[in-house]
């Protein structure tokens, strides 16, 4: 008998799975776990814990007379399904969920042909550690590549951003034997020149491609780059010292807005962000709540103005947290972009590679050839390859790619259907249009903010057609994370938090705690604070309650085995659930993946090349390892410095890297480090100088 264990990574939220023979011991300390019981090799699982809820040797699962038994040996107990078990034994069956500390592990029994014998004689198995969380920072070439590459045998790709147009493209992958990379990617940059550890400037000129020079370069033209450029502009750097290379030279929020639109947040709706997280204003004052209240006061909407001020005064204790309207944020960014001369700094560029130069700078090889607009009959323009040599680089390329849950990815691969099984971040308006017209059933996977937005959209669709029902599917019920004396609030299995991390991680005690921690402790803290949450908004909670009461919204728990297309052309989800012997089938018209999984940086060709060529360090989440000031230390080249920001740095010294305020924090830290390193024209922003700059902001004058 073998046991399949499934849980979610609490930081990246990705489902993890291991199959292990019995017996299995769980605990906080590897040394305390038995290595052998009755001559049987024990498989050990180490669980991290910041709340002292996991004992050093917590629990054991073993087999007696064909039955699989869970034995709790801990001080705080193990929760089996909803029952608390302390120092007792219970039999286990497929679909049971064990909760130890913050881990929710679903188990499935797997019969092996030859129970018992192969295990003991399976000599040579040097390690019995089934799962010991990776907590080290390792260089890329030492990483045992478990997760990214082999997980889905043929291809785990995912939903990509096109490297030329930045449009989302889902691979309707009918296992084509690895499509060859576009030939153009081969010829440039010249392999011989870029193979060197440090590239010589003369060699660059000798290639005949244009070479430009600049002090500061931002790679990526999205929110992260905008916030960084805004910060260094305010710290004194001039527009002609800065170059931004991006696939979307129009507006810095283009990709963000496209993703919002896809997950059913049009411009007039509110986004999950705070009042004083202002990408247009490094000081965070006046915040969006005050600005909105101000405008409302002058247009006679006093009660609404008061309610917004009340929200920022009493959130989250006595009121729902204030969140700004997307349109207001974008408009404020347009104003700031014009003020700092964003258009003068931005160029279209598809970056192919980055290398150190011999003179303490970096060279960026990019293609400036814009792809023809979709649907236009124009032939592609002639290739325009260029080099940009820069002394300081800021890397903020956003989501490398978007990931579907494995079973949904498998469904797409085997059926080629990308219409009935969709990711919440993909364009999928057809789902609601169909449902409004014909009614039907929609399966939602994931309890995050995207899930809430989709529920909100379905609620609207139900106004047009009441014959729409929702099945919300999750592996296990939610208990609510704990940290110290505090517990996160859960209602109807939706777990609430104003933003995607606890507020104290942006600038409070949690920020300094995480920064001060060693890699193991960091991992523990991130696990305690992470996990899927949504915002507590009165109307959303009401929708859920109403749906449950009226019966059109159902919660189901169980582990998905597979998703298949039936004869009626509908996707059927096979769920191993507790209480049903065997498998439950859920037939639906659509399945929407709202888990919001983001892939590893190595899915992006540029980042992969950067990591592999320079053998960069990766953190335990397989993201870029950055210093406390967001520098990629291994990229340091004499006086040259390279920084990173955004989701590609998740799992390091700072938790909320993928947020407006988190990006401002990263920009602030790297700008201070650059000022300390005497980079040209950049100064510390504080005191009277800071107030002067704020006055310029208020007066809409160039910094």
């Amino acid at each position: 008998m073998q046991l399949q264990l499934t849980w979610d990574d609490p930081v990246t939220e990705e489902p993890q799975q291991r199959v292990s023979p019995l017996p299995i011991a769980f605990g906080r300390e590897l040394e305390q776990l038995p290595r052998e019981i009755d001559g049987q090799q024990v498989h050990q699982i180490v669980l991290l814990d910041t709340n002292s809820e996991v004992s050093r040797y917590h629990a054991l699962i073993f087999e007696v007379a064909g039955e699989v038994i869970l034995e709790d040996r801990s001080t705080n107990g193990t929760t089996l399904n909803e029952e608390r078990l302390i120092r007792g034994r219970r039999p286990l069956t497929t679909g049971d969920t064990i909760r130890i500390g913050t881990y929710n592990i679903t188990i499935a029994l797997m019969q092996t042909e030859d129970v018992g014998t192969t295990r003991l004689t399976g000599g040579g198995s040097t390690s019995t550690v089934v799962f010991s969380p990776q907590t080290n920072i390792l260089p890329a070439d030492e990483i045992l590549d478990e997760t990214p590459a082999p997980s889905a045998s043929s291809s785990n790709t995912i939903i990509n951003f096109n490297p030329e147009t930045d449009n989302l493209e889902s691979q309707p992958v009918i296992s084509t034997p690895t499509a060859p990379p576009q030939p153009s990617r081969r010829v440039f940059p010249p392999a011989d020149v870029f193979a060197a550890e440090r590239v010589s400037i003369n060699a660059l000129h000798a290639t005949g491609y244009p070479v430009e020079e600049i002090d500061y370069t931002a790679i990526g033209g999205g929110m992260g780059s905008f916030v960084w450029v805004d910060t260094i502009r305010i710290c004194g750097v001039k527009p002609d010292q800065i170059r931004v290379l991006t696939l979307r030279p129009g507006r810095p929020y283009e990709r963000y807005e496209a993703l919002l639109r896809n997950c059913q947040i049009p411009r007039y709706k509110r986004i999950r962000s705070g009042s004083d997280s202002c990408p247009d204003n490094v000081w965070g004052w006046p915040g969006y709540a005050l600005r909105e209240a101000w405008r409302e006061t002058f247009s006679g909407r006093i009660p609404s103005a008061i309610s917004h001020l009340w929200e920022v005064f009493s959130e989250p204790a006595f009121a729902d947290t204030y969140t700004p309207i997307a349109d207001n944020v974008f408009n404020s960014m347009d104003r700031e972009a014009a003020r700092i001369g964003w258009d003068r700094m931005v160029r279209y560029g598809s970056v192919r590679a980055i290398r150190k130069t011999e003179d303490g700078r970096y060279v960026i090889a990019y293609s400036a050839t814009k792809p023809p607009a979709a649907g236009s009959a124009q032939p592609p323009a002639a290739s325009d390859y260029r080099f940009l040599v820069a002394k300081y680089i800021h890397l903020s390329t956003g989501y490398p790619a978007i990931k579907l849950l494995n079973d949904l990815q498998d469904y797409r691969q085997s059926t080629g259907d990308t219409r009935k099984v969709v990711h919440g971040y993909e364009p999928h308006d057809h789902v609601y249009e169909y449902l409004e017209k014909n009614g039907g059933t929609i399966v939602i996977r994931g309890f995050g903010i995207v899930g809430s937005q989709i529920m909100d959209r379905v609620y609207k669709a139900r106004m047009a057609n009441a014959k729409i029902s929702v099945i919300h599917l999750s592996r296990s019920p939610k208990a609510g994370n704990k940290f110290g004396v505090a517990k996160r609030y859960v209602e109807n299995h939706w777990e609430f938090q104003p933003f995607n991390w606890p507020k104290g991680t942006w600038g409070g005690d949690m920020r300094s705690m995480l920064e001060a921690a060693d890699p193991l402790r960091r991992r523990e803290l991130l696990e305690a604070w992470g996990g899927t949450t949504t915002a507590s908004r009165g109307s959303w909670r009401q929708t859920v309650k109403q749906g449950l009461k009226e019966g059109w919204y159902t919660l189901k728990f169980g582990q998905v085995d597979k998703v298949e297309l039936n004869e009626q052309g509908k996707p059927v989800t096979y769920v191993k659930s507790r209480g049903y012997q065997g498998i439950e089938k859920i037939e639906a018209d659509f399945v929407v993946d709202c888990t919001g999984l983001v892939s590893d940086p190595r899915e992006n060709p540029l980042l992969k090349d950067l990591i592999e060529h320079h053998n960069l360090d990766l953190n335990p989440q397989m993201r870029f390892h950055v210093e406390n000031d967001f520098e990629i230390k291994k990229m340091r080249n004499d006086k040259g410095r390279m920084y990173a920001a955004g989701v590609i740095t998740l799992g390091g010294p700072y938790a909320p890297v993928d947020t407006f305020l988190g990006l401002q924090y990263a920009a602030h830290r790297s700008a201070e480090a650059l000022a300390g390193a005497r980079a040209p024209k950049i100064g510390h922003l504080e005191g009277i100088g800071s107030i002067w700059q704020w006055l310029k902001w208020a007066a809409n004058m160039s910094p």
Binding site: A486, K503, G508, A516, N628, S690, I691
Partner: protein, 148 residues
């Protein structure tokens, strides 16, 4: 706001020593139409010193909030509690230089003025003067921890 204990202390000291002192000077010099006297300065001093101890309590209570934050509403409630304690201490005569001529009405006006000025300044002045203030839990002096 999401202050740290050091942040609370630093912010309290800075704001009371600047904005708080300015407001108190207005009272002490009589330009607000009050009776001149040094008693206001003593009130300010006790407000600051006893407040440092209050901050330890707030810092402890804050950990019961999942987000480890301290909403504006809590600041108001804390301000009221601090004011009441100060008034009681003054009335029972344990605050030298204040208790001898304690006037509850004047105390309330003075204390409330400082509180409002400091509260507003913590939202505006601190942010504009020290952009790093909000990223450091209210600490406006001191260095960032050395790299990793």
């Amino acid at each position: 706001m999401t202050p740290t204990l050091f942040g609370r202390w630093q912010t309290r000291i800075f704001l009371l020593a600047t904005i708080g002192l300015l407001v108190t000077w207005g009272f002490a010099s009589g330009i607000f139409g009050t009776e001149r006297g040094n008693v206001y300065y003593w009130v300010l001093l006790y407000y600051a010193v006893i407040g440092l101890a209050w901050d330890i309590l707030y810092n402890y209570l804050q950990k019961f909030m999942w987000d480890h934050d301290w909403p504006g509403a809590f600041q108001l409630l804390a301000g009221i509690a601090e004011g009441i304690l100060l008034a009681i201490l003054a009335a029972v005569g344990v605050l030298p230089n204040v208790s001898d001529h304690f006037d509850l009405l004047m105390f309330t006006i003075h204390y409330a003025s400082i509180w409002v000025a400091v509260y507003l300044a913590s939202w505006v002045v601190m942010r504009l003067l020290f952009p790093r203030w909000r990223f450091r839990g209210g600490e406006w002096v001191g260095k960032w921890r050395r790299t990793s």
